[in-house]
């Protein structure tokens, strides 16, 4: 496929994102016309926009950026097109961490405990992943390591549900696990944004190391890359970005898998060049999917995490089949 000039690609993604932001602020069960933006603070339309849809939109962008970037960085580092915080179990470890704080009831009294729990879970997850599989592993080792993490964390979540003190807590945990941007407040934005921003900045610094890793670990080291620094930046960056995302929205899978994969041919496959476009495209995908679930004419709103899994599952299958064909 032809590559797309970088400025053009970034401009297109930014324009698409801007358009989706406008739609995201207007669209939903109630359509708010653009005039409402300037109608003053007491107008119901303005309240919908600023109290409900603005936090939702901001979170959608932040989470999309975090997931797209984490996916691109993980794929670059592992040299594995199937890597993604969800597939590799980092997201579910974050969910496990968050569920533990819900279960313990700590999140109700101290809201900041939940993102902390999620990030600790995510950091443990990616730490175990890098330990189990090193950096020069085959696709198989990575997917297996991810499977172990996914199994352990879902067992942990099941245990928390099983031992849960009240049906109310079960309900809360299950609802939260499904992943959604609905009914998020400005407080949620404030809670997640600093961590997501810090994680993303860290991930954007490892572009050159990821480029060098195209030549394998020995090749990258011979080019003067400190692999130990890269690994640390990757682990902390993904831990913060993906962990904080899961903390406020629950598990939204496949964004990190799909996004870099779609863009790779357009940037000429260089992993460093993939980071920024993947971040923007991640935001585009999450926002578009969120607008989609809002507009679906169903009684209860479809959860975003469920919708993404519905799109991402078949995509993952297709990817596997294509990989098989190439290596067969």
């Amino acid at each position: 496929m032809k590559t797309c000039p970088r400025p053009l690609l970034l401009a297109l993604l930014t324009a698409g994102l801007a358009l989706l932001v406008v739609v995201s602020l207007s669209a939903g069960k109630v359509w708010v016309p653009l005039e409402a933006w300037f109608a003053g603070a007491n107008d119901p339309g303005a309240i919908i926009i600023f109290e409900l849809r603005l936090p939702r939109t901001l979170l959608g962008i932040a989470v999309g950026i975090a997931l797209g970037l984490s996916g691109a960085a993980l794929q670059g580092y592992t040299r594995n097109p199937l890597a993604d915080p969800g597939v590799l179990g980092v997201s579910s470890m974050a969910a496990f961490g968050a569920v533990m704080t819900l279960y313990a009831g700590a999140a109700a009294t101290m809201p900041w405990m939940l993102p902390v729990g999620a990030m600790i879970g995510a950091l443990i997850g990616i730490g175990v992943l890098l330990l189990l599989s090193g950096s020069a592993s085959s696709v198989l080792t990575f997917v297996l390591a991810g499977m172990i993490l996914n199994t352990v964390s879902s067992a942990g979540v099941a245990l928390a549900l099983n031992l849960s003190p009240s049906p109310w807590a079960v309900n809360e945990i299950v609802n939260w696990l499904m992943g959604s941007l609905a009914d998020r407040s400005v407080d949620d934005v404030r809670l997640a944004l600093p961590f997501i921003a810090a994680g993303c900045v860290l991930l954007l610094t490892i572009g050159r190391a990821l480029d060098a890793l195209t030549l394998g670990e020995a090749g990258a080291r011979s080019l003067g890359i400190r692999i130990d620094h890269t690994r640390l930046a990757l682990a902390v960056g993904v831990g913060l970005a993906a962990g904080a995302s899961v903390a406020v929205t629950g598990v939204i899978g496949f964004v990190g898998l799909v996004t870099p994969h779609l863009l790779r041919p357009l940037v000429g496959a260089r992993p460093g060049a993939l980071l920024l476009p993947s971040a923007l495209a991640g935001a585009v995908i999450v926002l578009a999917a969120d607008i989609g679930v809002r507009l679906l004419p169903s009684a209860a709103e479809l959860k975003l995490g469920v919708a993404m899994a519905g799109i991402g599952g078949p995509f993952f299958l297709l990817l596997l089949i294509r990989l098989r064909r190439r290596t067969a």
């Binding site: 040299r79 050159r208 480029d211 060098a212 890793l213 195209t214 030549l215 394998g216 020995a218 090749g219 080291r221 011979s222 080019l223 003067g224 890359i225 400190r226 790779r264 000429g268 496959a269 260089r270 992993p271």
Partner: protein, 260 residues
């Protein structure tokens, strides 16, 4: 002129003593071949010379400086290292891959005009300009080897260390790559250190040969001396005969030497 010098290097991997006190000096402007049987420690010695593996004991000096005291980037600007069976993970185009060799040189702004010029020169000397835009995963073995070599040259190193650079190449490509090494050494005073299994090629293209066996230096000298039949018998356990052919000296392998 500054050399690359390893003194009394010991490396242990697991329970195997891979290098047991290797000392040798490599000179710029020369092609030095490290030969020796499988498992003799050739690759390990090369990674130590490249500053990528710290010996358990002993030193590696580059122009009288400890190589492990250099910042990784500074070291990478002086030494290019090509691993055995190099990996190419993504389907990038040839020019992008060669450009990776500039990583030790580029600042925060990315590749500049100097870097582009160096990449173009490297591609010209490796003779790969004609497929600069091709996807590296579609190249043949010979094309791929030359692209990776161009990647190493793009960094304009003082030292080129290559592990088995001729393996898997047909005789035509082998001679082409060997000619490129010769040009590097003669024109740019680059020190070329390679490991080889092919004794004919070692004899034919090297200025000097270092023979390793069981982690020690068995012989170190001009190719004809270092690859003399008695040394080959000891290193590889094969019986050989050397004679003068049309293009220089030839080693004929007669057979496996009977166990003593």
């Amino acid at each position: 002129m500054t050399g690359l010098e390893v003194s009394d290097a010991h490396v242990r991997l697991g329970d195997k003593q891979v290098l047991a006190g290797v000392s040798a000096t490599f000179r710029p402007g020369e092609i030095t071949t490290i030969a020796g049987p499988n498992g003799a420690g050739k690759s390990t010695l090369l990674t130590a010379l490249a500053g990528l593996r710290h010996p358990d004991r002993g030193r590696v000096l580059i122009g009288n400086e400890d190589i492990f005291g250099l910042a990784p980037r500074a070291r990478a600007r002086r030494i290019a290292y090509l691993p055995q069976l190099p990996e190419i993970a993504w389907a990038v185009d040839v020019r992008t891959l060669v450009g990776l060799g500039r990583i030790p040189h580029v600042g925060a702004r990315g590749l500049g005009a100097d870097d582009d010029a160096a990449v173009t020169r490297a591609m010209a000397s490796a003779g790969i300009e004609s497929f600069a835009d091709r996807d590296v995963t579609t190249l043949s073995g010979g094309e791929r080897a030359r692209v990776l070599l161009a990647r190493a040259l793009a960094g304009e190193p003082q030292w080129l260390l290559a592990d088995e650079p001729l393996t898997g190449l047909d005789p035509g490509y082998q001679l082409e790559v060997a000619a490129l090494f010769r040009k590097l050494a003669a024109d740019q005073g680059c020190g070329v250190v390679i490991t080889l299994h092919d004794l004919h090629m070692a004899l034919r293209i090297s200025d000097r040969v270092v023979v390793l066996a069981e982690g020690r230096v068995l012989a170190d000298g001009p190719p004809a001396t270092a690859l003399a039949p008695d040394i080959l018998a000891e290193a590889y356990g094969v019986e050989t005969r050397a004679w003068d052919g049309e293009a220089g000296r030839v080693i004929e392998i007669i057979g496996r030497r009977a166990a003593p």
